[in-house]
Symmetry: C2
Subunit: 296 residues, 2 copies
């Protein structure tokens, strides 16, 4: 197989994702809601979730239009969660991707509404009136996204997070929090990509394992970067978790064991791809690599 150039693979897909988000987010929204939605979503972010959707869809020969919509929908859920998470009643952060957070720029009520509208928009994107995406596929994508975003997924993880400030969690509890808070949407992105095409039950299970492993790896690396990187590199306030007395992998396992855990999860992710039976998983492999070896 020819060598896989992840840079050009990503670059080409990011152009499509950015163009789609640009054309779909905050169009025709009244007052300054549209502006707040666009500010929340455009011009920033690694777009890891969209890339996961697209890579998984390509691995199963998925419907490209469905995958692009699912990619953007996953990013909108991620974006809304950041907007709400940054609000004063949650993390009270004023800096995100090097820019003032949404509530700083549009007020708290504006941020609240922008987040709410972004969540609804995610489901609008998944259910176009066009026949380019079969309605049965639309329904399955909505099911996966709603589950990943809801109380058994991202929102549930944030509730655990909220309840655990100043509380001593053990490693199992920390893992459970992150499986929901960050892992559910990352895994959901992989599963949405798979739902854009045909895949065997075993293949889908392997992709679910892959998504779970990189979802957790992402958070372990996040915790490591929170103590090893500076705010300029991160584009957000570094050292916040320790300041806020939040449990992290580093605080529970220490730095060295956190690093080896991240690499163990990476190995699990690659093993899952090998077990998937899919012909070409190079993009998914490259994304796993990006998750573990990122600098911010």
């Amino acid at each position: 197989m020819a060598e896989f150039d992840v840079q050009s693979w990503s670059a080409e897909r990011l152009v499509r994702v950015e163009r789609a988000l640009e054309s779909w987010v905050g169009i025709d929204a009244p007052a300054d809601l549209g502006e707040a939605m666009r500010y929340s979503v455009l011009d920033g972010g690694k777009r890891l979730r969209p890339l996961l959707v697209l890579a998984a869809s390509e691995a199963v020969g998925g419907n490209a239009q469905a995958a692009l919509r699912a990619a953007c929908a996953a990013e909108l859920i991620h974006a809304y969660s950041l907007v709400h998470d940054d609000m004063p009643c949650m993390d009270n952060d004023v800096l995100r991707r090097g820019k003032p957070t949404v509530h700083v720029k549009f007020g708290e009520a504006g941020a609240l509404l922008a987040g709410d509208a972004l969540q609804a928009l995610a489901f609008e994107l998944l259910t176009p009136e066009s026949d380019q995406v079969p309605e049965a596929m639309q329904a399955r994508l909505c099911r996966l996204l709603a589950h990943a975003a809801g109380s058994a997924g991202m929102a549930g993880g944030q509730a655990i997070d909220l309840a655990s400030v100043g509380v001593k969690l053990n490693e199992d509890q920390l893992r459970q929090m992150h499986r929901l808070k960050t892992g559910a949407l990352l895994q959901g992105s992989v599963l949405m990509g798979a739902a854009c095409g045909e895949v065997s039950t075993a293949g889908r299970a392997a992709l679910a394992d892959f998504g779970a492993a990189i979802g957790l790896a992402f958070q372990v690396v996040d915790d490591i970067l929170d103590v090893t990187a500076d705010s300029a590199t991160l584009g957000k306030t570094a050292g916040k978790d320790a300041d806020q007395d939040k449990p992290t992998y580093v605080s529970i396992l220490g730095l060295a064991r956190s690093r080896s855990y991240a690499h163990e999860l990476y190995a699990q992710a690659l093993a899952a791809l090998d077990a998937s039976g899919l012909a070409d998983t190079r993009a998914l492999r490259a994304l796993a690599d990006m998750v573990v070896n990122r600098a911010h």
Copy 2:
């Protein structure tokens, strides 16, 4: 046709809706997220949106399982909007249905997350893995609900509302605000009910007109009650709109013209039902009556 007993019609459907909400909301949600979700939804509310879904579905001979899910989903969107709307950064209300609001009881972060999780749950309810509801129908229900909830619907209307405090709106601007803020979800409830069965294009258009008319009537009556009823009857703080310098129908049209406008909209709603070609619209008619003649 035998006389229609709206009391027993509603009572029977409310039992089903309450039982379904009881079994579907906040189950298995971690920390106190589930409790906050249940507090937001159970034990209160007129359930107007669920009744509209069920009445429209029955009028078109719809799938009962789909209609029950759509009924609950519409109520969850309504409930989440109240939770967020009551927060200090929005209306800052401490009383709702005679009880402390969610942020008073669970903190602001708890209320924010409960609202977010309720919105996701609405789409989960619409997309069960069961084959009792065909996936194409699931997709259409998600499409209608997402549109009604999003920036071209409820969230958009709230953004206009937010931008118009202390601003002098004319009647057209006020109508546009309410068409989105309250009207979109009420109309969406009727359309979701219709989407649970088969209906002609003309029939669907007539139901859309019906939904638009009662959606607006609901808000006109709300504005009237805000100045004519007391807090105990309303179960929320009366006279708030005037206190907060918000434009209302009463402030723009005066009380007498607001009342006649409500009755004009009621007549429009009934005319739409007559034009629908549907055999039995008695429940929808009774709900229109309930909207216009309610005391709270």
